[in-house]
């Protein structure tokens, strides 16, 4: 056992590194989910329910946001999924720098441990995942833990970016052209280009915050010549593109699942890759001011970025057309991963469309910082992304474990979480239109939303039930499931056709050789 644990901890195998990422990010998801449950219970009625100290609530909220984004979604998508899938999909034996890969998963785990310290240190951070000064530099809360967590996870991600861009550029199977890559591989390439460009800006911002609070600099202190808005600009200059670091891989894996279970070619591949992903990459860095629509920045900047923000609908619309088009004349089988992928389509459609009012600067003057915003971004990113991750775990389950999960249990878990998510986030948007601001421990001034709050709490418990069913299904399947064949889904992609389940170190017993005109989506063709 000791040797086995050692072989996992010191592994440089990309599949094991990926599974370590998965375990860490699911742990972050579970704890951040418990925080969400605590918040939902507290908000059930006006007045204190389970704590009379708003500080408790603020710490839960801080942890929920920071851990879900930095500890769960980004690592699950660009750590777990990228590690597990990219080398297999491109026919490589491993990533380009396996030891660097091990270092980045260690840094990630260190970041998770640092984040968990929130619950044991005397003055936990309470600065939200955004960490706006001057509050973040004035609070008794320990902002340093926030900064260091962000720096560790950011550094880990930069190492991952260098590694995966090199891997895709140099380690594709002989004969695999750029236009034959899986859509997911493309999404990872673009996501890591975004990370490499923008993470350093976030690192700069939180480091300046650290200096302001602990070393006496005054970057964000107006009384000494600083400016509070510099931080907000730097933060969102990274953190809006970060949304695409989540969005692109989760759409990428959704494409894989939809193509596999519809047994169909990706509709208009080049439009998806160059128009969709390329368009998002092009616009990613020009829209951050929409997070500052009410921050008193110059009007020309707000109006200008209203236009760029609206234009995001062009590449995103193309990605939606590609996804729906992949169903056209397919042969769709409704297994659990496919249900999750179609769930992504549903949540992303609602979330994308409710983003349009937020993009309009004048409409945002009412909507900004109300429940409408968390309602919207949970639909578009948090829930859609989580469904893609859950769907991906089910999709890769036979490949990772060599065993099958239980189909009926999987579907039960899906429907519970699907219904629960809508019960939480639909009323949340409506409460936002009523004016209910976000990040509120209590809402005595908004008695009209109490009924909606209670509905949301009910929804949260439905999600909890679904999550527990899903977790049980995974654990049971991994330990006791039926043995899985190498390619239970009948996919045409290399990770299924050329590697056994689970793949051995080095992945492919025989290095894959590609026929001319090979495609990971060569369905419906007599080859």
């Amino acid at each position: 056992m000791g040797a086995t644990l050692r072989s996992w901890l010191f592994t440089t195998d990309h599949k094991r590194v990926g599974i370590l990422y998965l375990i860490g990010s699911l742990a972050a998801f579970a704890i951040a989910g418990v925080m969400a449950m605590l918040m939902r219970i507290e908000l059930t009625n006006i007045g204190p329910d389970i704590t009379d100290n708003p500080q408790d609530y603020n710490v839960w909220l801080y942890f929920h946001g920071a851990a879900m984004i930095l500890g769960f979604q980004i690592p699950a998508l660009t750590g777990f999924l990228a590690n597990y899938c990219v080398p297999l999909m491109i026919g490589a034996r491993d990533v380009a720098f396996p030891r660097l890969n091990a270092l980045s998963v260690w840094l990630f785990w260190a970041g998770i441990v640092l984040a968990l310290a929130t619950f044991v240190i005397p003055d936990p951070p309470d600065v939200m995942w955004t960490g706006y000064p001057p509050y973040a530099t004035m609070t008794w809360g320990n902002t340093a833990f926030y900064s260091f967590t962000v720096l560790l996870l950011g550094f880990s991600s930069i190492l991952g970016g260098v590694n995966f861009l090199t891997t895709v550029a140099y380690m594709r199977a002989p004969g695999m052209g750029w236009n034959q890559l899986n859509v997911f591989v493309w999404s990872i390439v673009v996501a890591f280009i975004i990370q490499l460009i923008f993470v350093p800006v976030l690192g700069t911002a939180v480091t300046m915050l650290l200096f302001d609070k602990y070393l006496g600099t005054t970057f964000f202190q107006p009384a000494n010549g600083g400016d509070v808005l510099i931080y907000q600009n730097l933060f969102w200059f990274y953190s809006h593109p970060a949304v695409y670091v989540i969005l692109l891989p989760f759409l990428g894996i959704t494409y894989e699942i939809v193509a596999t279970f519809a047994r169909n070619r990706v509709f208009n591949y080049k439009m998806v890759v160059y128009g969709g992903f390329g368009g998002v990459l092009l616009l990613a860095g020009e829209v951050w001011v929409h997070h500052l629509y009410t921050a008193g920045v110059p009007d020309w900047l707000r109006v200008g970025q209203m236009v760029t923000t609206l234009l995001i609908s062009v590449p995103v619309g193309l990605l939606m057309i590609g996804l729906v088009g992949t169903l056209y004349r397919g042969s769709i089988e409704y297994r659990t991963p496919m249900l999750y992928a179609l769930g992504v389509l549903f949540f992303f459609l609602i979330g994308g469309l409710t983003g349009i009012p937020n993009a309009i600067a004048s409409l945002d003057l009412h909507l900004q910082d109300t429940y409408f915003i968390p309602g919207h971004f949970h639909y578009v990113m948090a829930v859609a992304g989580t469904f893609a991750i859950f769907g991906a775990v089910y999709y890769l389950f036979p490949k990772m474990t060599g065993r099958m999960y239980r189909e009926r249990t999987g579907k039960l878990g899906f429907w519970l979480t699907f219904i629960g998510m809508n019960l939480v986030f639909m009323p949340m948007m409506i409460a936002g239109i009523e004016g209910m601001p976000r990040r509120y421990y209590d809402y005595a001034q908004f008695p009209q939303v109490e009924g909606m709050q209670q509905l949301m709490t009910v929804g949260a418990f439905v999600i909890l039930a679904g999550a527990l069913v899903t977790l049980w299904n995974w654990l049971h399947g991994a330990l006791r499931g039926e043995p899985a064949p190498a390619n239970p889904w009948g996919s045409r992609s290399l990770e299924w056709t050329a590697a056994p389940s689970p793949p051995p170190p080095g992945n492919f017993p025989v290095p894959p050789r590609l026929e001319p005109g090979w495609s990971p989506y060569a369905y419906g063709e007599r080859a």
Binding site: N268, G296, R329, D369, T370, G435
Partner: protein, 243 residues
């Protein structure tokens, strides 16, 4: 914070209004009304797009469920069709984007152009209260009293962290922050009370940082305003003697 005061003093005083004369009935565009109208239009716009996508997806999901064929049978797109499927939707989306952007900008100008004759009140936000100062020196906390029928302009700054002065009924909010002056205006028409609440996370009592806009009949406001001004002047005078 002396810096803040010096910045405040440097603000052009062209919009400052002496006394509290009620502005004549002019054609003043109310941002809140414009917001509701644009919101309705927006809901129609996104519902139509959503239904089209959902209907097509639902039809495909039903029509192409696995029956006899084990594999999909997608048509090969010609080069022209492939480009057309990218370019035509892109232009349709862009058309909608620019249309909405134009509508949004129109309303934006209403939000950001303060009508002549607005009552200008200074707001200093602080953890966790809203402090209003009127042109005649009257001071209130968490209670913004205004006359019906006259636009109100808030010039805002903060004594500590970032706050956001949000009046849901008037569909407007704007952050207030140390070292910067921001503004918002709204147009109260009928006497009544409206919730003011903080929309930017500001720590422990963020959710309790609430107040009221009290819209009064013009006569009643005039009487209150004069009395509050005299009281403030008297306090300033006695305060001066003590120093």
């Amino acid at each position: 914070m002396p810096e803040v005061r010096s910045v405040l003093a440097a603000v052009p005083t062209g919009l400052l209004v002496a006394g509290a004369a009620v502005a004549g009935p002019g054609p003043i565009a109310d941002p809140a009304v414009g917001w509701d109208r644009l919101w309705e239009e927006m809901l129609i716009d996104i519902t139509v797009i959503g239904l089209v996508f959902a209907a097509v997806a639902a039809w495909f999901m039903w029509r192409y469920r696995r029956r006899d064929r084990a594999e999909g049978d997608p048509p090969r797109l010609s080069a022209t069709a492939a480009v057309g499927w990218a370019v035509i939707p892109a232009f349709v989306f862009m058309a909608d984007d620019f249309y909405l952007a134009a509508k949004g900008w129109e309303l934006w100008k209403v939000y950001r152009t303060v009508p002549e004759g607005a009552l200008e009140v200074r707001l200093d936000s602080a953890m966790w209260s809203w402090n209003y100062t009127y042109p005649n020196g009257a001071v209130t906390v968490n209670e913004l009293r205004v006359p019906a029928g006259r636009p109100v302009l808030l010039r805002m700054t903060s004594r500590d962290v970032v706050h956001s002065h949000f009046i849901p009924d008037f569909r407007v909010k704007e952050d207030s922050m140390p070292g910067r002056i921001t503004y918002l205006w709204f147009y109260p028409k009928e006497p009544g009370e409206h919730v003011v609440t903080c929309a930017e996370y500001c720590g422990l009592l963020h959710s309790r940082m609430a107040g009221k806009v009290i819209v009064m009949a013009p006569d009643a406001f005039e009487a209150w305003y004069r009395a509050a001004g005299q009281k403030a002047a008297a306090e300033a005078a006695s305060g001066g003697e003590e120093v």
